[in-house]
Subunit: 268 residues, 2 copies
């Protein structure tokens, strides 16, 4: 199998995103390899050997996506047997011309620690302390409160919003006991402008629940269908914005919530 | 202030990463705006109006970083008053030539839902259930077990590893009570090949703890210094790899752990 390498003197997150975005356009399988913190010539030389070995083993030149701040290290990698792509190559000069300001490369400025950093950690702590409806006392501080049936993806979505964007995201489950004649709980009514609903196709919910509690009433198709009907009815009645998580990744759900609820990213 | 826009018919995560990586090279402040899911011509036209308004208000042409799969929508954006950069422009043709395979653009392939998806959600559930040493019963399943003093960043790092890479990351705090004559707890000894330490500069630890429990013994400089000395001594004695989180973001800590511990990304 052909290899793809993502290499940088920083975290290599940018080169990964860059390479994945390009390779995702091609129906080709790759062996992926990420090599962060290649920050001296000895490490760079080891990388070259690894690239050249991959070439010898597969007979195909590896694709190399790299973003080096240190141009001497970049030159070492470029002399390997890989086909090298540096996405800064084509953009720094035109952006520099447009801004009329010289570029000042600095390692790790993209994914390093910033002033926003404590904000993100505080948001993670908030989210953990306000997960799954354990308390509703801190909803005044919330940026958003996700609601929905059990197992619709509330917790991972909240954690993603907190970790990536510093958003204080609480979540509250609408549980089996509430379902007959479902009303918005009193503690939520007070914060209705912060509410955002998740829903999911009943057959997918049934699958997920069955994997946890096989053959239970909780995991039965009737119960899943009933809960989703009740909950979507509530969302519509109360004009709560909502998103269906069935075919969406946590990144997609988060992006939809942020856009619909007009949440500010606390991090750029 | 000049505006930067990140626009896509998908999540816009790729255009954000692309744009941030370039703009981080320049010591210039921007007003940032991310616009995901611009997937019909009406939405694209609204975006053009927003770009043109930003131009009129600031007198400077906004920088537009975009990654559209639908080329008709892209054409609408390109006709705005913004200066447009599409990072696929320069790379699709050469990669296509190298692979000898035609590109097949598809929305959301980069940040969409994949087979690896349940893996990530399972990892988040694992991490939440094995946070902060609440149980050591499931360490057989762990991919990694982070250890360290209280407030060194174990929980956010574990959640990041789980959410981003599907890594089952448990964590165990080395607490005040253990400190005199610190030994590796028995439950950890059994899994010593999975252990990874976090440490932090004592003055930074003191700041973080003081913000939580002001003027406590827990937050005193002596206690912080003592714990870090004991813990780093333990790491060295037991040959446990460790990383200092003081000046590192969760992305950087995670990248260092993955590389040092040779963890496989369960997601690409």
């Amino acid at each position: 199998m052909r290899s793809a390498f993502y290499i940088s003197d920083g975290t290599a997150l940018t080169s990964e995103t860059f390479g994945h975005a390009i390779l995702s356009l091609f129906p080709v399988q790759f062996r992926h390899r990420t090599l962060p913190f290649i920050d001296d010539s000895e490490k760079a030389q080891q990388v070259v050997e690894e690239i050249n070995t991959a070439f010898r083993d597969s007979g195909e030149r590896p694709l190399i996506f790299h973003t080096f701040v240190d141009s001497a290290l970049k030159q070492v990698i470029v002399r390997s047997e890989g086909v090298c792509y540096d996405f800064l190559d084509h953009y720094v000069a035109p952006v520099q011309a447009e801004l009329g300001v010289a570029a000042k490369p600095k390692t790790n400025r993209t994914h390093g620690i910033h002033q926003d950093y404590n904000f993100r950690i505080d948001a993670v702590n908030y989210t953990l302390a306000n997960d799954d409806g354990v308390t509703t006392r801190n909803y005044g501080e919330a940026d958003i409160i996700l609601i929905g049936a059990s197992r619709t993806g509330k917790t991972p979505t909240c954690l993603y919003l907190a970790l990536q964007y510093g958003i204080k995201a609480a979540n509250y489950p609408l549980t089996e006991e509430d379902m007959a004649d479902l009303q918005l709980p009193y503690d939520l009514k007070m914060h209705r402008h912060k509410l955002f609903g998740l829903t999911i196709d009943p057959d997918r919910l049934q699958q997920i629940r069955d994997a946890r509690r096989s053959n239970s009433r909780y995991a039965s198709m009737e119960q899943c269908q009933f809960e989703i009907d009740q909950i979507e009815g509530l969302y519509r009645r109360e004009a709560i914005p909502y998103v269906n998580s069935t075919h969406a990744s946590v990144e997609e759900i988060a992006a939809k919530i942020m856009t619909t609820a007009r949440l500010e990213r606390h991090r750029y």
